[in-house]
């Protein structure tokens, strides 16, 4: 298999710590196999850096199968890399050619401060969730799963919204750094279901206010988020959030 190996140059953002200044640095990676994932290629580069006593490039990843939302890089200007609706851990080196120069950058959003190299702190999304991205249930025996009828179409739509893995690509891709696709998905997945209905006004108001408090930009309906979202979350969820928020504001007692 060694015959189809090739070499690439990666230009990577290096930043020593939070708030620090960073810069792009170039590294040559020889012996890249087309079967490697993009992150594996970075692993190989890191092993090489460690061998040479240099500090390895910090980047986030966990599942490496596109379901956890940990990874997130801008590759050659494409959020999550060149594949459509895919996470960067699902990107493979067969997408590149021998001699390619690949630019790798972290999410560059003020609400996601870079901690080191390619690692951005996305805990602002967790704080939006903590503000209302849940339902309240009594502890004890789990209720019968089929006791509450749910419309099949609603269940599917809720499921599609719940596919959001919280990767933050929507924010990184948005011209305004808005987190409304994420927040819209998180509000929708509950608002669509009967279990989420009792708290829906409170939830929409609290989550939008928490989102604003994190300093995210405002949605201008550019829909760049939908175009990059690895889970293909639809902007109809943003409309639902707007609706839930406005109805909650004008019609609820809060």
């Amino acid at each position: 298999m060694s015959d189809n190996k090739f070499s690439v140059t990666v230009r990577v953002w290096r930043q020593a710590g939070p708030g620090g200044k960073g810069r792009m640095e170039s590294y040559k990676v020889p012996d890249v196999s087309p079967d490697m994932s993009f992150l594996e290629m970075l692993d190989v580069l890191n092993e090489d850096l460690v061998r040479r006593d240099e500090s390895p490039i910090a980047f986030d990843s966990d599942c490496r199968e596109g379901i956890c939302g940990c990874c997130g890089l801008v590759v050659n200007g494409d959020v999550h890399g060149p594949d459509e609706h895919s996470t960067v851990c699902q990107l493979h080196m067969r997408r590149f050619r021998d001699g390619d120069v690949i630019t790798v950058e972290p999410w560059r959003v003020k609400s996601f401060p870079v901690l080191k190299d390619l690692v951005a702190d996305r805990s602002s999304l967790d704080r939006i969730m903590a503000a209302g991205g849940y339902i309240s249930v009594n502890t004890g025996a789990a209720p019968d799963a089929n006791a509450i009828p749910v419309d099949k179409d609603d269940a599917e739509e809720a499921m599609d919204a719940a596919a959001c893995i919280g990767c933050g690509a929507c924010v990184a891709a948005c011209p305004n750094g808005s987190a409304m696709l994420f927040t819209g998905a998180k509000i929708s997945q509950l608002a669509l279901l009967p279990q989420g209905k009792p708290e829906k006004a409170r939830r929409a108001l609290a989550m939008v206010e928490a989102m604003d408090a994190e300093g995210f930009g405002n949605c201008a309906n550019e829909y760049e988020c939908e175009a990059v979202c690895p889970k293909d979350v639809k902007v109809a969820n943003i409309a639902r959030m707007n609706r839930e928020f406005l109805l909650g504001n004008f019609l609820s007692k809060r």
């Binding site: 050659n76 950058e105 959003v109 609400s111 405002n218 550019e222 109809a236 707007n242």
Partner: protein, 229 residues
């Protein structure tokens, strides 16, 4: 009295966007009526001046004007606020960045078309609203439309408006939470039609620039003359 809900309209992202969308739609409705009025120019002096006289005779016209101005100012104020926040938090510093096909020409140029429209509007108001009305409204407008410089500005203004509305119309509905698999395609199509119709302003001004109205009158005159013979 709990004013929390009013505060939320002013101080939250979606609240401000709500104001921007509602005022935007109101301005869209206004501009369509305005286009209708301009079409009367082509029917001739009598129709146009008659319409203007009817408008001015309405005792509520001053309040309507003030209301319109207020809507404009609200639209501008919320837009500036929203934009300023966006600008502060917009991702910045990417070495390379590629748009992924969500943006359109209209959406990406909203700020620039907005500035162009505002500049045009100021010029338009100074020129027409506070201009010399003594010659009659029809004469004032058509005289301006025979000046190539004015028509150039006017055409540019209406194109900027068309581009602005190509995004703004459908965007307003999304912001108001109106997004439905059945109706959104119609809303988008309707928004584009409204945007496209703004080119009508340009066409009407060019009509007078090319003196097509004179030609039409000549034609009438000739037909009348032949029939009389």
């Amino acid at each position: 009295m709990d004013l929390g809900f009013v505060k939320r309209v002013i101080f939250t992202s979606i609240g401000r966007k709500f104001v921007m969308a509602v005022t935007g739609l109101a301005l869209g409705a206004f501009i369509i009526v305005h286009l209708g009025a301009n079409l009367l120019l082509m029917k001739g002096e009598e129709s146009y001046n008659g319409y203007v006289a009817l408008l001015l005779a309405n005792p509520l016209i001053l309040y309507a004007e003030l209301g319109l101005a207020a809507i404009f100012l609200l639209h501008i104020a919320t837009a500036v606020w929203v934009r300023w926040e966006d600008w502060r938090n917009a991702p910045s510093g990417y070495e390379e960045r590629r748009w992924q096909g969500g943006r359109t020409l209209g959406s990406a140029t909203m700020l620039y078309t907005a500035i162009a429209i505002l500049a045009f509007l100021v010029y338009h108001i100074v020129d027409f609203r506070f201009g010399d009305h003594s010659v009659g409204f029809y004469q004032m407008v058509t005289a301006a439309f025979r000046d190539p410089v004015f028509v150039g500005i006017y055409v540019a203004g209406s194109l900027a408006l068309a581009l602005h509305l190509s995004h703004g119309m459908q965007s307003s509905f999304q912001t108001l939470g109106v997004n439905h698999p059945k109706y959104t395609p119609f809303i988008k199509f309707g928004g584009l039609l409204v945007a496209l119709s703004m080119i009508g302003f340009a066409l009407i001004s060019v009509y007078f620039l090319l003196e097509l109205d004179h030609r039409k009158a000549e034609h009438h005159y000739q037909v009348a003359a032949t029939e009389a013979r």
